[in-house]
Structures are given as structure tokens and as C-alpha cells.
């Protein structure tokens, strides 16, 4: 955690006369510290560098409503010159701690043909002071501290930017109609994360310093103590703000309502209005999903990767080789809302919503999450229940910074498998990769291409194999690499197949299509340690005979007497004398499979579901039936947010899960 410690306020509040605000800016800027605060820019309140107090939005307020935010002049009168008399601005302070674009990697192919990938060092930001953050902004910052710096993996850029940050918060004297921090327990009182807290009055500011850093600033200003009347008036203003918002803006049981109603027709009703513009995620101060953009020179020899803000509302967010896991707007809206109010709790122990209401005001069609949650709770079609016990993501081992580095891999052999699939045998000396487990994957980088996650299809004492289907630009390039080429690897990542779950039990391995690749190390391991297992049965499906993987190897396996191997294809001509039909058809002749079996399944998700169903009918327990999920992964360590399935990050909590762990999520469309 990087969250600024809150210290007890031992000093009485001080009073900063309005005409001395410039002195505060000077004190903050001492020693070259950059000072940013709200300004009026292009008809909106925008955080920018402050040259003087005159840059602040004195005399302005902001009126918000669903789908509407307008600057207005404060009415004439004693308060007409107030500086912070508006509710939250459109943007919070997120872009200063978590910028929308961050240099991530540089990649180059050297003169000797060796690919080098350098992880860019975290930013060395100049010390920064932010004036004008609100209670909700600070609550969001605390959420980001948990998400981006609370582990298992830490975003080094975020950690660096958080290291030397001074925050001057303002307690809101006015709330917008879209504000609901009081309902979320995050405001309007500033209780965490600020070094100085301002309460604005017509003639100046009551200033409190909850941290030592804030105390030093306050001491430098040499201000008189605030008199009791002023202190009381600022408290009263905040109390009025709280009262104007009321409580109960969202149902108290939103978390369980959402989890129990993932298929509620209300999602369709919202989707009819949602245009998937992603505005809500851009203004949300807790949204943290990112993508990776690769820029390359024409020669393709050198490129750089930039981490950019991404949104779960965009078309490509959940895209993988096999298709799109969230093709509909309802899927994307459900992902966003259930993440904020439900699965965020499972992942990080907090709400992902802090009640700032920006997503309501800056939604161009005015969708109000408060109303949607109430509608959902009021018309819950499924009984409201406590969320299911979830995979405990907080118990995961920490990911070291070294694990985020790339290591070289050299192509020592290319084995064509099918017309579009090849196996690369790679030499690597990286002990972490060599010590990887069946079911784990690596990120594979070559200059000029996006960085795909690829399952390890075999371990050798001196390297690994990757079996890759050419389905896009990067994977096409990888399958065409020649012997001697180099690439860069990061991993091994994820939780693999739990072989120990099958010790002393029957083993059923079911692979479909390219899904055989991640299972191959399981087969290797089982055969290496054959005596630890009872009956071993391998069932493999392919689209056509020509699209089978590892054909000669599988033929050798099929000839063994200590395992059973069955192969089927979806379609074939008359020349094929083997089996035709879906892979689940293979089981009907092996009724012996049952409660004593552990199953490892990999293939298209629908195939895995159908297989798990058939195996379940045969008695294989769900706790012993393991599947590996394919999802869009940009980072591999649970930071980019792309691969979420319910409360899980597939990259770090999986990709292997038991059917029991996944529960209903395994067959919920669009999750």
C-alpha cells in the first residue's frame, strides 16, 4: 500500500485568507515541485499547471445532471468569488498518478539478429502537488493503491508517481445532483489521503494538516488559528452538502443483487440506451484497464509499446483468436457495473465505485447507475443471495519486478503441425521458465508486433515448445520464424494444471483443436510418472484429419498399452477410417469413468462445457474436473483488467480452474 498515512490532527485548524492563496501555491511549489489544480479550460474544469491563483476557477460552479454538466457563473453576492464552489469536475486526478499513456517497452532486433526487449523504467516524475482533489478523488486513489500497488503484481509506474505526491484536498461545500459519495461512505468529508484539507468560506479557507508533509507546508505559511466560528461554518457547509445528497442512492445490497441477477432482463433495457462510447470508464476515477499499443518503424526492426487506458466497452476488449467473449453492449455494461459494485469486492476487498457520479453526468445518454441498481434490486428476478465464496485472489504469491522482465528465447527448431499451426522449439536459459508448470503460459515479444500470450506446449531441460496457430499478425509472424531466430519471453505466468489432484486417481484428458497444446505437458508429466496414476485415458478432437496436432507422437501414444487414446474429427472424407463426431461421443464407450477420475479439459469453451457435462453425468466430480480458459490478456499479471471472468483474473488466478470454482460463470453468455 502506498496510501498516504493519515495522522492524528494535533494542530488546530488555521485560517488562510483568500488574498494569501498565492502564498500557499508558493509554499507548495518550493523546491521545484510542480503544482496543478483546477482551471477553466474550454468550458470545463480541467486540472492543469497553475501559474497563479488567478488560474483557479474562482466565481464558477458546475451544474450536473444525468447526461449533463454545465459551468455557470456563481450568483452575485458574498460567495461570488469562491474558488472551489463546484462539485466534482469531469476529470479527477487519475491522469496524474495513472496517465492515459505510459511508455512500457522498447523492442529491437540487433545487428546479430537478437531480439532485445527492455521494460521501460518507471517514470521519474518531478514532485507533484495537486490542489482541489475531493473526498471521492482520494477514495479513488486509495482504491488504485489497492489495485495497482497492493499486489500480487505492482505497477511500477504508478508506484513511482505515488511516491512523492502532495495533495491539497477541498471538502465539498456543494454537491451535484449526480453526486452520491455520502451513500458510498467516501465523502464529502475528507478522511484519508490528503496532506492538507481546505474548507472554503467567502473570505478564505480553514486549513487542516493531517500529515507531517502538510504540517510543514502549514508551518511555512505561518497562519493564525481559525476561529471557532469559521471552523464551525466550514463543518456546517460540509454537513449541508452531505444532507443535500441524502443516503441510499444505491441499494445497500447491490453486490448480492447483481451477482444473483446476471441474466436479468434489465441488462437488455440498459443496453438499448447504452451506446458503448466508453465515456463512463474514461471519467471513472477507479477504472484501471489498459491495453498495449505497439508503434514500429517501417523496417520492423525496432518498436516501442505504450500502455494506454482501455475500456471494457470497446469492441476489441474481450477479443481473442476464437472470437469475442463480450460481443453485446449488455455484456459490456454488465461487466462494468458488476465489476464496480460486486466483483471488485471479491478482488480487492473494496467497492470499485466511490460515488463521484461522473459516469452519470458524463454519460451522453444519461444512464444513471443509481436508478439502474434500484431497478435491478426492486425487480430482482432471482433471489438475492450472498455472493458465492470465491477464489481468494488476495492469497496469491507476490509477483516480483524481475518477473515482469523479458528474457531471450532462441528458435532451435520449427515443426510444422498443420497448414496454419507450427511448434517452435525454443532454447532459453531462464531458470524461471524452465521451472514452469504444465498449463502455464508466456508472453511472446518480437519487434513490431503485439505481444500474445502463448501456452507452453512442452518443457525441455534447456527450453520450451510453443505451439502457435497463425490467427493474426503476430501469431502469423511467429509461425514463420526460422531456426536461429530469437524472440523475447516473459513468464511463466498463471496457475497451471493441478497434477497432484490426479495422484492415485484415474486421469481423463480431453483436448480439442489447438487445445491439445496446453495439455501436452500434462500428458508428458503423467507418462513420466505413470505409476502415480490409475487408468489414463486421452480423448482428442480435431476439425479434420489434416488439422490434428502432434500426429506421429499421438500415434505412438495410441500404441501404448498403459493408456487409452481415442481420436475423433468433426468432419472427414471417405479416406479417413478413424472416428468422426464430436469429442464427447467418445465417452459413451467408457462408462467406467467416474468418481475416481480427475479430468483435464482444453478446447473451445463450449466444447469444454459439453465435455464437463458428459463427464459429470458419468460421475466425475466437478472439483476434479479442470478446464483452462482463454481470455484476452495484455499483461499476464492481473493489472490490465482484460481477462476478467466474474471476480477472476484469468491470467493470474487461472487460466486453469475447476468446474466447481467457476460455477455458473462457466456457462453464462457474455461474461
Amino acid at each position: 500500500m502506498i496510501a498516504t498515512a493519515v495522522t492524528l490532527e494535533t494542530e488546530p485548524p488555521r485560517f488562510l485568507p483568500r488574498e494569501r492563496f498565492e502564498d500557499l501555491l508558493a509554499a507548495l511549489g518550493a523546491g521545484g515541485r510542480r503544482v496543478v489544480g483546477p482551471t477553466v479550460t474550454d468550458g470545463a474544469i480541467v486540472f492543469a499547471d497553475l501559474g497563479s491563483a488567478a488560474d483557479l476557477p474562482a466565481g464558477w460552479t458546475l451544474k450536473t445532471a444525468p447526461g449533463r454538466a454545465r459551468l455557470e457563473r456563481l450568483p452575485d453576492g458574498p460567495g461570488a468569488a469562491r474558488t472551489f464552489h463546484y462539485p466534482v469536475s469531469g476529470e479527477g486526478i487519475k491522469r496524474f498518478t495513472f496517465p492515459s499513456r505510459v511508455d512500457a517497452l522498447s523492442m529491437e532486433t540487433g545487428a546479430d539478429g537478437t531480439v532485445r526487449v527492455k521494460v521501460e523504467a518507471p517514470a521519474e516524475p518531478v514532485p507533484l502537488a495537486i490542489i482541489g482533489a475531493r473526498a471521492c478523488d482520494l477514495a479513488a486513489l486509495a482504491v488504485h493503491d489497492q489495485v495497482l500497488a497492493g499486489g500480487p503484481a505492482v505497477d511500477p509506474d504508478y508506484a513511482a508517481r505515488r511516491r512523492d505526491l502532495l495533495i491539497v484536498a477541498v471538502e465539498c461545500a456543494v454537491a451535484g445532483s449526480t453526486c452520491f459519495c455520502a451513500s458510498m461512505g467516501t465523502g464529502p468529508e475528507v478522511t484519508t489521503g490528503a496532506d492538507l484539507i481546505l474548507g472554503e468560506l467567502d473570505d478564505g479557507f480553514v486549513v487542516r494538516a493531517p500529515t507531517a508533509a502538510g504540517g510543514r507546508i502549514l508551518a511555512a505559511l505561518d497562519l493564525a488559528p481559525a476561529d471557532e466560528d469559521r471552523a464551525a461554518r466550514t463543518l456546517a457547509e460540509v454537513a449541508r452538502t452531505r444532507a443535500s445528497m441524502g443516503t441510499g442512492a444505491v441499494p445497500a445490497n447491490s453486490r448480492s443483487v447483481l451477482i444473483a441477477n446476471l441474466d436479468h432482463p434489465r441488462w437488455d433495457a440498459i443496453a438499448e440506451r447504452c451506446i458503448a462510447c466508453a465515456n463512463c470508464t474514461l471519467v471513472c476515477p477507479t477504472c484501471f484497464c489498459t491495453g498495449t499499443e505497439v508503434q514500429s518503424g517501417f523496417d520492423g526492426l525496432a518498436s516501442s509499446a505504450t500502455r494506454t487506458w482501455d475500456s471494457c466497452f470497446t469492441d476489441g476488449f474481450a477479443q481473442v483468436a476464437g472470437g469475442n467473449f463480450r460481443p453485446r453492449h449488455r455484456d459490456r455494461y454488465r461487466q462494468w457495473l458488476t465489476h464496480k459494485f460486486a466483483t471488485w469486492w471479491d478482488q480487492f476487498g473494496t467497492s470499485g465505485c466511490i460515488g463521484c457520479g461522473r459516469c452519470v453526468a458524463w454519460c451522453p445518454v444519461g444512464i444513471d447507475i443509481r436508478a439502474e441498481l434500484h431497478a435491478m434490486a426492486g425487480a430482482a428476478s432471482a433471489p438475492v443471495a450472498a455472493p458465492l465464496p470465491r477464489h481468494d485472489v488476495r492469497a496469491l504469491p507476490q509477483v516480483s519486478q524481475e518477473a515482469l522482465e523479458f528474457t531471450p528465447g532462441k528458435v532451435v527448431a520449427v515443426i510444422p503441425e498443420t497448414a496454419d499451426t507450427a511448434t517452435l522449439r525454443l532454447a532459453t536459459e531462464d531458470p524461471r521458465i524452465l521451472a514452469g508448470a504444465p498449463g502455464q503460459f508466456v508472453m511472446v515479444a518480437v519487434p513490431a508486433f503485439a505481444i500474445p500470450p502463448i501456452s507452453i506446449s512442452r518443457f525441455h531441460p534447456d527450453g520450451i515448445e510453443l505451439t502457435i496457430r497463425a490467427a493474426g499478425a503476430a501469431t502469423s509472424f511467429l509461425t514463420r520464424l526460422r531456426r536461429g531466430a530469437t524472440l523475447a519471453l516473459r513468464g511463466p505466468l498463471g496457475r497451471g494444471w493441478p497434477l497432484e489432484d490426479a495422484y492415485g486417481r484415474d486421469v481423463v484428458i480431453v483436448g480439442g483443436g489447438i487445445g491439445l497444446a496446453p495439455l501436452r505437458p500434462v500428458i508428458d508429466a503423467v507418462l513420466r510418472d505413470r505409476d502415480r496414476f490409475q487408468d489414463v485415458r486421452i480423448y482428442l478432437g480435431a476439425r479434420t484429419p489434416r488439422e490434428r496436432l502432434f500426429v506421429e507422437e499421438i500415434d505412438v501414444l495410441a500404441a501404448r498399452e498403459d493408456i487409452l487414446v481415442r481420436i475423433t474429427v468433426d468432419r472427414a472424407g471417405p479416406e479417413w477410417l478413424g472416428r468422426v463426431g464430436v469429442v464427447t461421443q467418445l465417452f459413451k464407450t467408457v462408462r467406467g469413468t467416474g468418481t475416481d477420475a480427475t479430468a483435464f479439459i482444453c478446447g473451445p469453451e463450449r466444447m469444454m462445457v459439453a465435455t464437463a457435462d458428459v463427464l459429470g453425468d458419468l460421475g466425475v466430480p466437478r472439483e476434479h474436473t479442470w478446464v483452462t480458459l482463454e481470455r484476452h490478456m495484455e499483461c499476464g499479471v492481473g493489472l490490465c483488467g482484460h481477462c476478467q471472468v466474474g471476480s477472476r483474473f484469468v491470467c493470474r488466478d487461472g487460466p486453469v480452474f475447476s468446474v466447481a470454482e467457476l460455477g455458473g460463470d462457466l456457462r453464462l453468455e457474455g461474461l
Partner: protein
């Protein structure tokens, strides 16, 4: 019928029970219906490559594979014969023998030396029409077979192993 087959009655089978191998559909029947069905069952041994049921023609018999493998095929003029399903011992071939209009929906061709348990279509229909106990016991597993094929065919239709969409990588 092709010359490569050898027919025999169950009574002359080498095994005194007439059904030495497991035929789940028959084995699962109550004793009475099982015996009445077995009494009309014949055996047929076929070499590989023999087409014993022809798509579009009247189905002559309902059969159960005792050993071997059978391909169900469809004719697609521009593609030739396409195998859409293969069947193994215990599987039923020719359910159309007892379902109007009694016309085979696929051809059936042996891929290996194959032995079939054979029930004449006309005799079987008469038995089912006159023996309610047998019909009540025999038709559900036949329906189960047909239903499983429908479900599997739907999955095949999805062509799940074909890559679709735009790969981000």
C-alpha cells in the same frame, strides 16, 4: 446385399447365449422383451468398405454394431461422400427402420471388419405394434440414441475448432 457379408442366426452363434458381446440397448431391457427381441435377431459379418444402408432408400433393418466401425455418410456431389459420424460397438445403425417414412437419412459403410446384430425392419415394426411391453422398453433407448445424435450434430454444426473473428495478435 453385397457378397462380402455372411449372415447367421443368433441360434447358430458360437456363444450359447447368442450375444457374447455387450449390446447395451438390448442388455438393458427387461427379460421378456429382451428374449423376444433376441429371438428375431440375426448376425451379419461384413468386410471393410461395405455399404449396408443407402441414404434415401427404404431402411431394410435396424442394426447394432457388435464389433467393428461404421461410417455414416452423406452424398455431396461436388465433394463426394462426407463422413459425418462414425459408430462403434454397441451403437445403433438404422433407427429409420422404425421411424416413418422408414427412409435412411445417411448411408452406412463399414470401415473395419464389422459384425452386426440385425433386426428386420418389417418384423420389428410388427413386433413393436403388437407388443406394447416391448415397445415401451425398447423405444426410449432408441430415442435416447437419436437425441444424442441430434445434440452432437448441433455441436458439429458450430464448427468450434475453426478460428473466427479477428485475432488481436
Amino acid at each position: 446385399m453385397p457378397s462380402a457379408h455372411r449372415a447367421s442366426s443368433s441360434a447358430t452363434s458360437a456363444d450359447p447365449t447368442g450375444r457374447p458381446e455387450r449390446l447395451p440397448i438390448i442388455d438393458g431391457l427387461p427379460a421378456g422383451p429382451r428374449e423376444r427381441l433376441s429371438a428375431m435377431m440375426a448376425r451379419l459379418e461384413l468386410d471393410p468398405g461395405v455399404t449396408f444402408m443407402h441414404e434415401g432408400e427404404v431402411t431394410q433393418s435396424l442394426t447394432i454394431i457388435v464389433r467393428g466401425r461404421v461410417a455414416l455418410r452423406l452424398r455431396v456431389p461436388e465433394r463426394g461422400a462426407v463422413t459425418i459420424l462414425t459408430l462403434d460397438p454397441g451403437d445403433l445403425v438404422g433407427w429409420s427402420a422404425i421411424v416413418p417414412p422408414y427412409r435412411a437419412t445417411t448411408s452406412a459403410t463399414t470401415l473395419e471388419p464389422t459384425e452386426l446384430a440385425v433386426f428386420d425392419a418389417v418384423e420389428l415394426r410388427e413386433l413393436l405394434a403388437t407388443d406394447p411391453e416391448l415397445a415401451a422398453a425398447f423405444l426410449p433407448p432408441v430415442l435416447e440414441t437419436v437425441a444424442a445424435r441430434v445434440a452432437a450434430t448441433r455441436d458439429q454444426l458450430l464448427d468450434l475448432f475453426r478460428g473466427v473473428g479477428v485475432d488481436p495478435w
